[in-house]
């Protein structure tokens, strides 16, 4: 992409939109920094993108699209504020930013974007609000798109975003990257949001789809951005985890869009080079010492992804990784996954002992993967009647249609005598 020859457009409006939209988070962040007004920031970012769509097909894409867009957005902000007859001092602040932005400090837009990410993911906001605000302000999705992705009404999402921004303003949530003594825990808050978005795309909790690509690709893009801005090992771990899952997604569903279990997937459809790159990135992070939960989960995913055939899977290693994970983040879901790994290494009865112990605690009541896992282990242990009962319990709890259909096929395949 370079300057157009006189009279010849290099790209069309659609291409211009794609390039401009990528910078959405950077523009919004810069405008929030300058004006403190989130709605104004979005309005001006939108205006800048629209001007890009008009100008770039004619003039060509600028060498630094982010700077062009931010400058355009700032000019718009000055106009709007002037019309609102805002105090002179604020106008001066906004105008002053223009001169800062022209210099070689190309890192400045990055820092603001990192501030934006941390602010959107502040723990004083509900998880729902954090997810919505991150997707709107950093990723640039519209409220309609976010509403569709999470199966809520658009007006619900609009209201959620409105309240979140109002709270940020009214409660004075600071626009900054947290200080060093808070960074690790606040980074966890950010990673939790990104992972939730990814999971909602990868394994939707409800609805009909086996996956929602828009969410997984946004989560991946945000995780890459985060690693670029803040290359902490856990951030790298989360990115590696997402990459390792996504690189295998072609094998996860069959031609009819139905879910295929891991041990039956056609591994030739996995993106091997992408898996290898993710594994290498993960190794580098782990080498920095004290791998945290996301690195451990990524290591588990890497065990699966690097096995050429299901039979080559190192289940002992996976079980050991789950034990380490459980020591860091104890909880019933980790324990359930550990049970599966143990069953593969030591046989279904060993796994069933763990699952049955979990069932008695009641912590996973209502979670369809508990009876589903139990059913699978019972099936492998040859206890088909009990397996059928457990599959029926799982089907009753499964909210996602693709998951239901998969469980129904397992039930049908049992054909208990």
């Amino acid at each position: 992409m370079g300057r157009a020859d006189r009279g010849a457009a290099v790209l069309d409006a659609g291409d211009a939109l794609l390039v401009a939209q990528r910078e959405w988070g950077a523009i919004v962040a810069a405008l929030i920094r300058a004006t403190g007004d989130w709605d104004l920031a979005e309005e001006c970012a939108q205006d800048a993108v629209e001007r890009a769509i008009q100008r770039w097909p004619v003039d060509g894409v600028p060498d630094r699209p982010a700077a062009w867009l931010t400058t355009t957005a700032r000019h718009r902000a000055i106009d709007v504020l002037r019309r609102r007859r805002v105090e002179a001092r604020k106008l001066e602040e906004v105008a002053a930013m223009e001169h800062e932005g022209d210099g070689p400090a190309a890192t400045a837009p990055f820092d603001d974007q990192l501030c934006l990410v941390f602010t959107c993911c502040h723990p004083a906001l509900s998880m729902e609000a954090r997810v919505a605000l991150t997707l709107r302000s950093v990723a640039g999705l519209t409220s309609a798109e976010i509403a569709r992705a999470f199966l809520v009404e658009e007006r619900t999402m609009v209201q959620r975003l409105f309240r979140a921004k109002r709270k940020i303003r009214d409660a004075a949530i600071p626009f900054r990257v947290p200080p060093a003594d808070r960074l690790a825990e606040r980074l966890d808050d950010v990673l939790a949001v990104l992972y939730l978005v990814f999971n909602e795309g990868y394994r939707p909790a409800a609805g009909h789809d086996a996956s929602r690509v828009a969410l997984t690709s946004e989560a991946l893009r945000l995780a890459s951005l985060l690693v670029e801005l803040l290359p902490e090992p856990e951030a790298v771990g989360l990115l590696a985890l997402m990459e390792l899952h996504d690189a295998r997604s072609a094998g996860r569903v069959d031609a009819a869009g139905e879910l295929v279990p891991l041990d039956e997937q056609d591994r030739t459809r996995w993106d091997r080079p992408r898996i290898d790159r993710a594994a290498a990135m993960l190794d580098a992070a782990v080498a920095r010492g004290h791998p945290g939960p996301y690195q451990l989960q990524a290591a588990i995913a890497a065990c699966h992804a690097t096995a050429a055939h299901a039979a080559d899977t190192d289940w002992l290693q996976i079980a050991a990784l789950y034990e380490r994970l459980a020591s860091l983040v104890p909880g019933p879901v980790v324990e359930l996954n550990r049970a599966v790994a143990v069953s593969m290494a030591d046989g279904p009865d060993a796994g069933l002992r763990i699952v049955d112990a979990l069932a008695t605690t009641g912590e996973l009541a209502g979670y369809h993967l508990l009876p589903a896992t139990r059913a699978d282990l019972l099936r492998r242990a040859g206890r088909r009647t009990e397996a059928a009962t457990a599959y029926r319990q799982a089907i009753a709890l499964a909210a996602n249609q693709a998951d239901r259909r998969f469980l129904e096929r397992r039930l049908a395949a049992l054909d208990p005598g």
Binding site: G36, R169, D170, I173
Partner: protein, 114 residues
């Protein structure tokens, strides 16, 4: 930026190791010294409260607090902080955050023009 800390009891809070819980006098002293704490008082128990409503010109009195919740307000502090992070930090150091709960409510400010 001003916030009100609504200090509340929480009968369902799990037991804590008392030696780990911050000391209230130390909290008051620190927050007074840092010019964070503007005003604060313990309140009498909620059973001593009277709730007042005027409806259709009639005064309606209830014996007790307005909300029949397990958690009850037992005190308040008005604090002045740079931002919510600082206010949360201040609340975290208060002993009642450990054995009870604390609501951190920003003071109302006129909305910026939009």
């Amino acid at each position: 930026m001003r916030y009100m800390l609504l200090i509340c009891t929480d009968p369902e809070a799990p037991a804590v190791d008392e030696s780990a819980v911050p000391d209230i006098d130390e909290w008051v002293e620190e927050m007074d010294e840092r010019k964070i704490r503007q005003l604060g008082e313990m309140l009498a128990p909620s059973s001593d409260a009277t709730t007042v409503k005027v409806r259709d010109g009639r005064v309606l009195l209830t014996d007790g607090p307005f909300a029949e919740t397990k958690e009850q307000i037992c005190g308040f502090d008005i604090i002045e902080c740079a931002d919510l992070d600082e206010a949360i930090d201040v609340a975290t150091k208060h002993p009642m955050a450990w054995g009870g709960l604390i609501e951190v409510r920003p003071f109302w400010t006129p909305a910026t023009p939009s």
